[in-house]
Each structure stands twice: as C-alpha cells, then as structure tokens.
Symmetry: C2
Subunit: 144 residues, 2 copies
DNA sequence: ATTAAATAGGACAAAATTGTCCGATATAAA
DNA sequence: TTTATATCGGACAATTTTGTCCTATTTAAT
C-alpha cells in the first residue's frame, strides 16, 4: 500500500505531533527509537517532510523536530502520503495502466475506483490530531 | 497498491481467460503484446501462475497458455494477487507494524481495516469471468 | 528421426527502494 | 569564542524489484 519511507514518515509525524502537543521538541534519535525505524533513513524522510512544511525542524543544540500545535489538527494524513509517495495511491489505475481513465477503463476500474476513492477520502479526512489521540492513553501504538 | 509483477499477472490472466472463452490457446508473445508488458518478465510471472494452477501451460509446438472454461468463473482476482504479492494487501498493517493487531492497534487501524476489508471482499468476490466481460465489446481495456 | 516452435528455468543485469556514513552547517550554552 | 549537539545534504552501499538472455525441455508436424 504505502512505501516503507511513507510508513516511517506517518509514524514519525504522529510521534512528533503527540510530543508537540505537550510542548516537547524531539530529536531524530528519540523519534527513531519511539517508532522503531532506521535512524539515518528516518532523517532523510524527515528532511522531505520538513521541506514540505509538514514538520518544523530546528538545527543546532537543543534542536529537533516539532509541529505547531495549531497545525496538528489541520495537517491531514493525505499530505504526508502525497509528500512521500505522490498521489498514485489515490489516482492511479489498479492494473497499472498509464493513467486511470473512465473513458477507457481497465477491467477492474469501477470496483477499484470505489475503494480507491474511499481510501482517498479517509486519507484526506484524517488529521494528525486524531492519530495522536489514542497514543497517550495507551490505546494505540507506533511500534511493537 | 499491487506490484508491477502482479499488475502484469492480472492483465495476462484476464487476456488468457478472454481468449480461452473463444477456445483459443495463446502464446507468451501474443499475451505480452496484448497487455503491453515486457515479454521475458511476463514469462516469469506466467510460470508462477502456472505453478499455482491459475493458468494452464502447454509446452512445445502449438503450445501456449489457457484457462479451463469451467475455471474462469471460479478463479477470483484475489487468487492471482495472493499468488504473486502474497496476502499483505488484505492482512497487513497500514503503517507497517509487523502484524496488524486489533489488541495493539496502530493509530489508523480502525479506519484502515475498514477499507482494507472492502478491498479484500472486492478481490475475493471478483471473478476472472467478470473481468473479461467488457473486453470483447470494447468497453474495457488491458492496454492503452 | 528431424525440425520448428513453444514454455521452463537458471543466471545475469538494470533500476528502484531502502539504508548507512560522514562532513558541512547551524545553534545554544559554557 | 569555543564546544557540544543538533539537522542538512551528498555520496555511497545493500537489498528488492523489475527486466533480459540463453539453454534445456517438450511437443507437433514434416
Ligand atoms: S482504468 Fe484501471 S482503475 Fe481506472
Ligand atoms: S495495526 Fe495498523 S492497520 Fe491494524
């Protein structure tokens, strides 16, 4: 479904958001530990998210990553996915034709688009805030 | 969503089915042309499908690939996908945790499982026969 | 029997994705 | 101003996926 990079990106963003809500800026090292991801690879992904203004990065001593609290409910899961994987997942043809096109549909177009559109809606309607809600109370997990 | 191999596999199976319904056995070369796929790579994928008894292969002169007409409505899209990509798409965690587990869910578990399960049902309920229906009459396409 | 045409399968190659390492740069604190 | 601690970014390495090539094997037709 999503690339590894994207999965790490979502988990990292969620962790950063959860800590930002407590006014904690977090380091790459801490993030990678908390989401159980390879540290240097995670750094690359965070750079991408930073360039896409999904997370804020602060260099230097006492630096790290954070997300403005005001943004946490505004940022949608879709923005993270699109920033890393592009929008193939919500636009592409299920059978890999160059473009999904209802005028020249592939044999699964109708059924596939139905599900793809639901996924698209889910991604676009799920905020980072929602994703942090279960974390603090131990209802949801970013690693196991 | 699906790997390239899986996309080619679905398109190839659909084409073979459509020709089998007219009692035509088709060659690798013809398949690759009709679905616009790399021929040698397609050969590998057809081997996999053949080993998984999704398509029948006949070696030698006048050989090729076919699917028993009786099987065409029985074979489901899911069987092709599982044979090539495994069942990660209908079982895996959206955020890449080792296993999806509702007792220790990731932050998107509920919303993700809803969509994943619909996809699973779609795959398991769509027969190869259905996928061939639009092809003959030019309503659907396997290449563009 | 020989030949031609087809798939099977192993070895290899290219490309994409995933992952690592290290020096440059920025910042806070001593 | 120096030092310690961060991220940034480029180069590189490993792994997986995608794709190619060539020989062996099978089969039908001559
Ligand atoms: S054309 Fe294949 S999903 Fe639309
Ligand atoms: S635990 Fe992530 S989808 Fe179920």
């Amino acid at each position: 479904m999503f690339s590894k990079a994207c999965e790490y990106g979502i988990r990292a963003s969620t962790y950063i958001a959860s800590q930002s809500l407590r006014n904690r800026r977090v380091s790459l090292k801490e993030i990678a530990e908390e989401i159980d991801s390879p540290i240097a690879f995670t750094a690359k992904i965070l750079q991408q998210l930073s360039r896409n203004r999904i997370v804020d990065s602060v260099k230097g001593s006492a630096g790290g990553f954070q997300i403005e609290n005001k943004q946490i409910e505004k940022i949608k899961l879709s923005e993270i996915v699109y920033a890393i994987d592009g929008n193939e997942v919500s636009m592409g043809c299920g059978l890999g034709l160059k473009k999904c096109n209802s005028n020249k549909p592939c044999p699964v177009h109708d059924k596939f688009v139905k599900i793809r559109d639901e996924l698209k809606m889910m991604l676009e309607n799920t905020s980072l805030y929602e994703m942090t809600e279960g974390l603090e109370v131990g209802l949801t997990y970013l690693k196991r």
